[in-house]
């Protein structure tokens, strides 16, 4: 069953970034993606914590990729969004869409 509570804004952003990155979703790539697309700079500590939290909630899982010399022999974790994670994103999006509905005259893009 999907958690009744909505994911936090940061959680949503992180989940979306992981989905966009596909096979290459590891922490630093997520940070870069958030910075590039959302203009949001996330502290490393907060990101790792958020990832741990969402893993505990079952929104995502991870697997390891072999170490590279750049990483001093340390593995890299690649994150994947679980079906539950996708579901919660969808719930959240639907709720937001409903809330947005009919507000275009106020909030929509300005005509050119």
């Amino acid at each position: 069953m999907v958690d009744r509570l909505f994911p936090s804004e940061l959680e949503q952003m992180v989940l979306l970034a992981i989905l966009r990155l596909g096979q290459h979703a590891y922490a630093l790539a997520i940070i870069r993606e958030l910075d590039r697309l959302a203009g949001r700079s996330v502290s490393r500590g907060a990101l790792y914590k958020t990832l741990e939290r969402m893993e505990a909630k079952g929104y995502l899982v991870w697997s390891t990729e072999a170490a590279t010399p750049d990483r001093g022999g340390h593995p890299r974790r690649l994150f994947t969004v679980t079906p539950m994670g996708v579901e919660i994103l969808r719930t959240s999006r639907n709720a937001l869409m409903r809330l947005w509905d009919g507000l275009d005259p106020i909030l929509g893009e300005r005509p050119a």
Partner: protein, 880 residues
């Protein structure tokens, strides 16, 4: 090749992260970012990684699973600060109290740190030791070392990288402009190498430069070079006369180097050890640098072994002589000073404790008002920690504010102390400096945190024990029955006790200082000039030459129109003392210890006139008292009282020393007490008795010129005296030029400085105790407003209500006074060491302190009591 991040930073970061793959992968990410930073050519990658690691760890820890808790702690701190701001009065008092406690404590720490821990300003100073001979059976643990033994030590020992020997003495440097006199040290050529200090300019002494017959080359201290030679770099290589012999200036030492004892110049020690029999000739101070691979114990053992060999080889001079090594600090501080500092640390800790007790009390009072808030928190399931935190937070906020002001207090106090104990004034060792630097600041931070914990723990703990049921049911009356009430009373009682002890100490000190300021000297001081002059063997090789010089000098001095009387002495009052064992003719002495040990000074005719006293009986010395005539002495009044039973001693005879073969000396005059032994220190054997001998029947190289000005201050005679000396010998400088008042000041500064410190401690304690008493009583009154109102409504008179409050105050005051008196008697034993002619059990001081505390205590109780009587019954009953 890949750049590596700092290993320590990485290891520390790993500690914070979870173990296993998760943590590992995070470290990997950090590595990757580091590698990228390096690739981009970022500056200082090591530093960058450190900052990155700190940020990462910080972010990670703060959000670590209980981000709620962390946020709440910050919120508590902010809440604490805000709720304190709502009661600015009591918060300000608490801050001032803490500031005084922290400030005085840090001040004291600065002194202790400067004296005991900062160490000498030498490379690897903790390897530098002082080596002394010991003669345990006579309780002598720091004897200097005869030069012959020093050479044997140096040859046989293996524990030290090197041993240096030295003696201190006057060094006259002439041949540049006018002759200049320095406090010098005569050192073995290896001295600077052993100490590990290089000259700033020129060179250190070379090997072999200290053999007999070599030139007295001189190395200047920085201040000597700057002040006397204008900082002229070309001084190196200049030919000068050093104590009358030709030598060369070969080096200048760096600023601040004044080894070993605020010395200004260094000359090679050129004594011929073989010129004298063992045990005769020069005695040296010996210093060594311990080798890295040798422990202090090993070195002690080796030196003891060498001393034993020497004892076997030369039993006639080395019997019972051992060897011991000391740190410079151990060698410098005697047990009296250690005790004084021990007492001061005790005093300052008392002040800090009182400060903590006060703030704890304040917080307890506030806690009691907020029992209900705590009760609600507990009822809602708040953990013990969460209930305690807000109260703790207040203590932390108060301590931080106190620390800021405390640092200012420390800064001012340390600056003052550094100035009043300047080496030039007090002979404080050159390496003891008092300043507020990093270690001191760390101490302040530490002590503030401890303060916060001590002050915060009681109220916080009290609150966490809140009984939800009774608190929530029992409205305001419940809180007045809080245990905190009893605890506060105990704290206040303790404060009163500590204040009594400190104030008695402070009172005795005050009296001692007043005594110093008012001291009535039985001789002229302001109008008397004293100045030293010293002769060197090179210029004045025998007694006859020296006698001739001093006779000529007296003639010249008598020609000064501005002086009413002039004389010479080897020891002016308050300028050191020397005691001699004497044997009075006609008395018998069973043991060595029975011989009177009295002060002795050598003077010329007119000495007593120069101090404006004259003689009480008999005659002054005359020029005809020479080696061929009867040996004569003038004794002082204390000696007449103690050793001649107060009878007229003129014509009585005694010997200088205990041997029967010594010539008998006849007493020809009686002088008043001219304080031959200097300041009288309580708790030490003090012998005011003494006698004077004529210079014409003695020999001396160093004498003090004493001249009494006809009008005005003695120092006005300085120019005339200098000119008179120059007329006899153009190469001789005068030095240590003071009027007698200054000479006395230099002997007794110690009492004034430490007395002032003690008084400040005492006043701080009094202030705190009164704040504490006032706080507790006024809180008690405010808690009992309702009760007071009812009593008044039922017809109680004002004085009944005042009595009610006063009784509570009087009880605490009484118990505190009783305990304090017991403490005070302990304190006086130590304080006695610092006192100048004051009885440690002085009834006036004890009485005044008790009266003062009772007065302060009663007024602290009176105001809250008055407030209680002003209560309007209607208001009171309405108040919650």
């Amino acid at each position: 090749m890949n750049a590596q991040p700092p290993a320590l930073a990485e290891r520390l970061l790993a500690l914070v992260l979870p173990s296993g793959v998760v943590g590992d992968s995070i470290l990997g990410d950090a590595r990757e970012e580091f590698a990228e930073y390096v690739r981009r050519g970022g500056a200082a990658p090591g530093l960058w990684y450190w900052m990155h690691a700190v940020r990462l760890a910080g972010g990670y820890v703060i959000t670590k699973g209980r981000d709620v808790e962390m946020g709440a702690i910050l919120k508590d701190l902010r809440f604490g600060a805000r709720s304190l701001m709502r009661m600015p009065g009591s918060a300000a008092v608490a801050v001032v109290v803490l500031a005084i406690g922290i400030g005085l404590c840090s001040f004291m720490f600065s002194l202790v740190y400067g004296i005991y821990f900062r160490g000498m300003n030498l490379p690897d100073a903790d390897q530098v030791y002082v080596l002394n001979e010991t003669l345990v059976e006579r309780d002598q643990l720091n004897r200097q070392v005869p030069i012959q033994n020093f050479l044997d030590w140096r040859e046989r020992q293996t524990s030290f990288e090197g041993l240096l020997g030295l003696y201190q003495g006057t060094v006259n440097v002439s041949g540049t402009e006018s002759p200049i006199r320095f406090d010098g040290a005569f050192v073995t050529a290896n001295a600077f190498q052993v100490l590990g200090v290089e000259p700033l300019l020129g060179r250190a002494f070379a090997e072999g430069e200290d053999v007999p017959g070599s030139a007295p080359n001189v190395i200047l201290g920085y201040a000597a070079w700057r002040d006397q030679f204008g900082g002229d770099r070309s001084i190196i290589g200049t030919d000068v006369r050093v104590n009358g012999e030709p030598g060369t200036v070969i080096g200048v030492m760096p600023e601040g180097f004044l080894f070993p004892d605020n010395n200004e110049v260094w000359v090679p020690l050129r004594d011929d050890a073989l010129a004298n029999a063992r045990g005769q000739g020069r005695y040296l101070s010996v210093w060594g640098r311990l080798r890295d691979d040798v422990s202090r114990d090993q070195a002690s053992l080796e030196m003891a072994g060498i001393a034993q060999q020497l004892e076997r080889e030369y039993p006639e001079v080395n019997e019972g002589i051992g060897a011991e090594i000391y740190t410079p600090m151990e060698a410098n501080m005697d047990s009296t000073l250690n005790m004084v500092f021990g007492a001061m640390i005790f005093a300052v800790l008392c002040v800090l404790l009182v400060a903590c007790a006060n703030v704890a009390n304040l917080l307890l009072a506030r806690a009691a008002m907020r029992t209900k808030e705590a009760g609600v928190r507990v009822a809602l399931g708040g953990s013990r920690l969460r209930v305690m935190l807000p109260f703790f937070a207040e203590a932390v906020v108060l301590a931080l504010a106190g620390a800021v002001i405390g640092v200012l207090i420390t800064y001012v106090a340390v600056g003052w102390f550094d100035t009043v104990t300047a080496p030039s004034r007090t002979g404080r060792p050159w390496f003891m400096t008092f300043e507020v630097d990093l270690p001191i600041m760390l101490f302040v931070i530490g002590v503030s945190m401890v303060t916060a914990v001590i002050a915060g723990i009681v109220p916080a703990f009290q609150m966490s024990r809140t009984d939800v049921n009774s608190v929530l049911k029992d409205e305001s009356r419940g809180s007045s029955s809080l245990h905190g009430g009893r605890l506060s009373k105990v704290l206040v009682t303790a404060e009163v006790a500590l204040s009594v002890a400190l104030l008695v100490g402070a009172g005795l000190m005050t009296k001692s200082i007043v005594q110093l300021g008012d001291a009535d000297y039985p001789f002229d001081t302001e109008s008397v000039l004293t100045a030293r002059v010293g002769l060197f063997p090179a210029d004045y090789p025998d007694r006859a030459a020296r006698q001739q010089f001093f006779e000529d000098l007296q003639l010249e001095l008598r020609g000064m129109g501005e002086a009413s009387a002039v004389a010479l002495t080897d020891r002016a009052p308050y300028n050191g003392s020397s005691t001699w064992d004497i044997a009075i003719d006609g008395e018998t002495y069973d043991e060595n210890a029975d011989y009177p040990s009295v002060n002795r000074a050598v003077v010329t005719p007119g000495f007593f006139a120069a101090y404006g006293t004259g003689l009480q009986a008999g005659r002054d010395f005359v020029q005809q008292d020479d080696l061929d005539s009867e040996h004569v002495a003038i004794v002082n009044q204390p000696m007449v009282d103690r050793y001649f039973d107060g009878q007229n001693p003129i014509g009585r005879r005694f010997r200088e020393g205990v041997s029967d073969t010594l010539p008998l000396i006849t007493v020809v005059g009686v002088a008043p007490d001219l304080h031959m032994a200097g300041p009288q220190i309580q708790g030490e054997a003090f012998e005011p008795a003494g006698f004077y001998r004529p210079l014409s029947q003695n020999d001396a190289r160093f004498m003090t010129i004493v001249a009494n000005a006809r009008a005005g201050s003695g120092t006005a005679l300085t120019g005339d005296v200098r000119a008179a000396v120059r007329r006899v010998d153009g190469d001789l400088p005068i030095y240590a030029v003071f009027d007698q008042t200054e000479l006395i000041d230099r002997a007794i500064w110690f009492f004034g400085v430490f007395g002032t410190v003690f008084i400040v401690f005492g006043l701080a304690a009094l202030f705190m105790a009164s704040v504490g008493l006032y706080g507790v009583l006024s809180f008690a009154v405010s808690r009992r407003t309702q009760e007071m109102g009812i009593r008044m409504a039922l017809g109680a008179a004002s004085r009944d209500v005042i009595g009610l409050v006063a009784r509570q105050g009087a009880g605490q005051l009484g118990i505190g006074l009783a305990i304090g008196l017991v403490l005070a008697f302990g304190v006086t034993r130590v304080v006695a060491l610092l006192m100048y002619q004051v009885d440690p059990q002085d009834p006036v001081v004890f009485g005044s302190v008790l009266t003062l505390i009772v007065l302060v205590g009663m007024s602290a109780a009176y105001f809250p009591a008055r407030r209680a009587t002003g209560v309007d019954p209607v208001e009171a009953l309405r108040s919650e």
